[in-house]
Amino acid sequence: MSKSSLSYFLTASRAAGITRITGTTGTTGTTGGTGAFGAAGANRAAHTLAYAVLLAAGVAMLSACGDDGVIDPAALTPRGTVVLDGFIQPGLTLVPDSGASTQRIAFGAPNEFDGGSMQVRNDTVVAASSRGAGDLLYIASLQNGTVRRVQMPPRSNPARARLLSQSGGSALIGVPLRDSSSVALASITSTGATTLTRISDLGACPVDVFQFGGDNWVVDANATCASNYRPIGAMRLIRIPSAGGARQVIALSALRGSSANVVVQGNVAYISAGGDADFSSFPFRLVAGGAITRVDLSSGTVLGTQPMPAGTFGASMKLGADGRLYVSMFENLSAFTDRTIAYALPGLTPVGTRVAGADWLAFRNSSNEPVTCSSAVADRLGRVHCIQNRTGSATFLMVFAPDGSLVREVSAGQGGVDLRFR
């Protein structure tokens, strides 16, 4: 076996292994936020051992497995944090665990990019840009520093990109297309051949997609995303059985808005909605606040809803490595102050060192002054990592101890909108 074919097989096996691990444990769901500095290395070692076993057993499967070609293998050192630069110079800023040096992977040039979120798995990052930025799926390899773009249907208005699982060794990426009531499934082989399939008739504005129990699940914001992003009604969760048959629609009566995202923990899906606001004129007006609804995916029932604090808008969440949900939002529609709330699962109880009289976390800088930041997530130690855009949209990665004190602050590019652990 030549070196190249060994590498080929190894890559394919790793991809298959990762896929299986995710599918069987069901712990990472769609968040991709698995990175905890200490645990990651141990997991990688275990994975590598598994891959080695699979290597011996998989020779006969070589021709059948194929190479994902997109999902990069486990990352090389150093690990660290990935910051998505959503504007000015779109791309990724890689921040190591220590030191101030960073690396950049440009997304946009010479294209548009306006994505606000990403998913990271191993060394693969996926994100999407909307209709105003060319309807594109971005796939970046942190290992190679390369970026691929996949054209989505024109004016389909992608909401985000999710790494999904499929058999056959190809990578599968789901892209909710808000303006065409569908989800695009991009199947990409190791040679880069891309096959686009679409799941249609998915409500008014599909905004997120994930897999559970072998089925695809789609969150429909039920909003006029093709025009003014105003809600038509309550959001819906749509189950698309892999075996075919009738779809199941679960009403999320407490969720309204045009943005939502999902975290799956065990059998429960946590679905956050940003809320409904009228931005058509000044002053902006909050119509309905955001909330998080828990859905038992096994039974298809709504377990409950946790409303966001009054007056807040734009809730978006990530699952921390400490098992908590970290929800970022704007405190109001006037100053747009960033706030972060940590919720303990499964009851969605606010936890952590909080601002007196409020649910959001209290962060303090090195001068012990209160600070705020956006797009936060915690590591296994409960340290909250978040980004803050300062003058000139200069982005800083800030790490706070569980008590809210600043542990680390490092420059992390410009125009940051999301962060994930690598």
Binding site: V150, A226, F336, A394
Partner: protein, 833 residues
């Protein structure tokens, strides 16, 4: 226009600055503002450039270089107005009406240079029934021609006649043979000792000139009149020199529309592209520009001195200005806080309205058809000018898509990129009242960036109204300006994205000179309303004062002795201050100081320092955006230092080759720069850091025989520092340059225009090659011919833009057209009144 300038340079026999004479007269109370004939030769000689002399030495009409003074005037950057006659354009003398060619060059040379030994052959004076002189009126500050001046010829018995000069030069009836009351006519010419010319023009102090000595029919007399409230050095010589353009100053260059048409220009945007130091940009049909390393919103655009800049966006769309409205355009890099007020941080683009009748039609690639015309007539002693323009273009040009996801280059074609523009204008020019009105309407397809199809149906409809009225009351000039701009954004696919906005600005100011100090005060207001419930209002007032002076050596020289100053040393300075008080921005003082000195005529050294301010625009973003964004409270942007040192050299020795070279070192420091930096949600501009620009500007001209060339180059390091970020100013190339070369053969003119830009960053982020537009060199060709018809001159221009078919973008994501042809026919009535 061009041949008038030729004649101006060839035929000048007397150059006088009446305004300056009046100042001298003020110092010497007994002095009547008249010039003794004995002084004329010396004065004339002192203000003649080498090119002038060379031109006059060429008797052969076909070899006669044409000097288009309108191409060159350079208006000073610091309130000192400057004229550059060195910019080469030449006009084929054969294109000039033969009737105007009856000047004996050797005689003129003798007169102009005072070369006593030169033989003076008897002029072929005909005993015409009506004897006329050619009178040219010039701005004593800028040297630019001043059209529509009222001239009164006075004789001892009273007023002989009053007439209006439609253009800057015109024949003035001075005597009727054998009328000996006013003048005697003989083979020796016209004895004009009893004739006084009084020139009045809106915005200028009256000019008075007592003619002395003998004049020959069709001799040209140049009168420079001083603008109201523009400080001029207290020297006849300097004023005259400025007016004659023999001492061009740096960093301000003008271009006449007529010259630009011959170079292939067809719009205000393409006109600006011919100017040095400019960086025009266009994405969706609009045309804006950057100067001297500045952001485009730091450039003020004025029409007849009134700002065109829209208060809501901080920009002026040059595409809305029809070419037929204009006579010339001047670009003045560097802050001009006194004359132009807030916003003129990086420089000023001054548009001057035109005169006369004209008609033009043009057809070009991509379905581009344009027609425009203006008709001028006298109504009593006033001049009425009406005009209209219409242009429609599909702009569905092909381009190479290098950003496709396939990784291959795709040949595509732009869609929804059409433009339809219509405009009407009216000008009323009375002796003491002037009115200019311009209304324009444009419908644009709002094509998006390459690969973004979200804007394929979006449309915009803009309407612009500009009115300027000015009246002269004694020595005070009162002007009123109103600007209205409305935008209708329409998305047929998503009507909920439709948005409307209306911006209105009004200004009133008064100017007058008091004891040599030019004073100006004004009040104005801005108003914005949008369909997104944006309602913003702002009032503002200002006062300014400018004072200029000159010191000449040797001190024994008489101040009115032009030769001693021109050939010796002088130090000229202009000091100005301005205070703006703007609602919600407080009191904002600015100043400007410019100094020029010369030891010899050939070399001039100068320096200038200024401070300026730019206040936030009312709603500083493309307010048609369907996404309503919050607006932060902003502080005014302060240009704490805008400085330059400059030097200019011009060949003076008689030779067949005329050359000039000029250069400047510049720097600008801006605090609290207002820059668009998106945030997470509340996107709007912000005051950020300190912006520094340093750079070098170079420009040279060369003229030899029927050919001339002008070239310029700039090096700018424009960078914003905010925190740890070092951000080059978007779209400002480090290296840039351009050149125009022309060759005249008979009635044909072949010209080539080149512009090249170094790589240009297009984001407000640190320098990154991945976010940089590549360097590009563009080359245009134009072939024009001028045909004399009965009472008209026909200019036919064939142009090839982007002749090498370079794919390029002036704005990231928006490809510019490739090779494009055009044919234009321009008809302009000729013949001096």
């Amino acid at each position: 226009m061009i041949w008038r300038a030729v004649r101006l340079c060839v035929c000048v026999s007397t150059v006088l600055s009446v305004a300056a004479v009046q100042r001298v007269g003020a110092m010497e109370p007994s002095a009547e503002p008249r010039v003794d004939a004995s002084v004329l030769p010396r004065m004339s000689a002192s203000v003649l450039s080498r090119e002038d002399a060379g031109a006059m030495s060429r008797v052969d009409a076909s070899a006669m270089p044409r000097v288009d003074a309108s191409v060159l005037p350079r208006v000073d950057a610091g309130a000192m107005s400057r004229v550059d006659a060195s910019a080469m354009p030449r006009e084929d003398a054969s294109a000039m009406p033969r009737a105007e060619m009856r000047v004996d060059a050797s005689v003129v040379l003798h007169v102009m240079h005072g070369l006593a030994p030169a033989p003076a052959p008897a002029p072929p004076v005909a005993r015409e029934q009506e004897q006329r002189l050619v009178l040219c009126v010039r701005d004593a500050a800028t040297g630019a021609g001043v059209p529509r001046a009222h001239v009164t010829v006075k004789v001892a018995s009273g007023v002989r006649s009053t007439q209006l000069l439609e253009s800057e030069c015109g024949r003035v009836f001075v005597a009727r043979a054998p009328d000996t009351k006013a003048a005697s006519i003989s083979d020796a010419g016209i004895t004009t000792s009893a004739i006084t010319l009084v020139v009045r023009r809106m915005g200028y102090e009256p000019g008075r000139l007592a003619l002395t000595g003998n004049r020959y029919p069709n001799d040209t007399v140049v009168i420079a009149i001083a603008p109201i409230a523009v400080a001029l050095s207290a020297s006849t010589t300097r004023a005259v020199a400025n007016a004659r353009g023999t001492q061009p100053r740096l960093n301000a260059v003008s271009l006449s529309v007529d010259s630009a048409r011959a170079l292939g220009a067809h719009s205000a945007g393409s006109l600006v592209a011919l100017l040095p130091y400019t960086f025009p940009r266009s994405a969706r049909g609009e045309v804006t520009l950057s100067l001297r390393g500045a952001r485009r919103e730091q450039v003020a655009v004025t029409l007849d001195g009134v700002p065109l800049t829209d208060p809501s966006t901080g920009l002026a769309d040059l595409a809305d200005v029809p070419l037929v409205l204009l006579q010339s355009v001047s670009v003045s890099p560097g802050s001009d806080p006194i004359a132009s007020g807030p916003g003129a941080a990086g420089g000023v683009l001054s548009l001057q309205s035109g005169s006369g009748s004209i008609a033009s039609v043009r057809t070009a690639s991509f379905g581009d058809v344009a027609m425009e015309g203006a008709w001028s007539t006298s109504v009593g002693e006033s001049q009425l000018r009406l005009g209209a323009a219409h242009r429609r273009a599909n702009n569905d040009f092909a381009f190479i898509n290098r950003a496709s996801t396939t990784g291959t280059e795709l040949s595509e074609r732009r869609v929804n990129n059409d433009v339809t523009r219509s405009s009407v204008m009216a000008q009323w020019q009375g002796e003491r009242v002037q009115l200019t009105a311009l209304g324009s309407r444009a419908e644009l397809g709002l094509v998006g960036p390459v690969n973004v199809r979200d804007y394929d149906e979006d449309r915009s409809n803009t309407q612009r109204l500009f009115v300027r009225a000015a009246g002269q009351f004694g020595t005070s000039l009162v002007s009123l300006g109103v600007r209205q701009f409305s935008l209708r954004y329409r998305d047929p696919v998503r009507p909920s994205f439709d948005a409307d906005a209306n911006a209105l600005a009004a200004d009133v100011d008064v100017r007058r000179s008091v004891a040599g100090v030019a004073l100006q005060a004004g009040v104005g207001g801005d108003r914005l309303r949008t369909s997104a419930n944006v309602a913003q209002d702002r009032t503002r007032v200002f006062v300014s004062a400018t004072f200029a002076g000159i010191t000449a050596w040797p001190v024994t020289a008489h101040r009115s002795d032009s030769a001693s100053i021109e050939d010796g040393r002088y130090l000229e300075w202009t000091l100005g201050g301005r205070v703006d008080a703007i609602q919600e921005n407080g009191v904002l003082p600015s100043f400007s100081l410019a100094v020029n000195t010369s030891r010899q005529r050939a070399v001039v050294l100068g320096a200038r320092v200024a401070q300026a301010v730019r206040v936030p625009t009312l709603y500083d973003l493309y307010f048609s955006s369907p996404q309503r964004l919050t607006v932060r409270a902003l502080d005014a942007e302060r240009i704490v230092l805008d400085a330059e040192v400059n030097a200019r050299w011009r060949s003076t020795a008689p030779a067949r080759v005329a050359a000039s070279l000029e250069g400047a070192l510049i720097t600008r420091v801006t605090n609290n720069a207002i820059v668009w930096f998106p945030g997470n949600f509340g996107w709007s501009p912000a005051n950020v850091g300190t912006e520094r620009v340093t750079g070098v500007e170079l420009r040279g001209t060369l003229a030899h025989g029927p050919a001339d060339v002008s070239a310029w180059s700039t090096i700018y390091n424009a960078q914003l520092t905010t925190g740890a970020l070092r951000i080059p100013t978007p779209y400002v190339p480090v290296h840039a340059g351009g050149a125009i070369a022309r060759v005249v053969r008979g009635t044909l003119q072949l010209s080539g225009t080149s512009r090249w830009f170094g790589s240009r960053p297009y984001t407000a982020g640190p320098r990154n090659d991945a976010f940089t537009l590549p360097a590009v060199a563009l080359f245009d060709l134009a072939l024009s011919t001028s045909r004399s018809l009965t009472n008209a001159e026909l200019l036919i221009t064939l142009a090839l833009e982007n002749a090498t078919d370079q794919p390029w973008q002036s704005v990231r994501g928006f490809p510019a057209p490739g090779r494009a042809w055009s044919v234009a026919f321009t008809l302009r009535p000729t013949g001096l009144p």
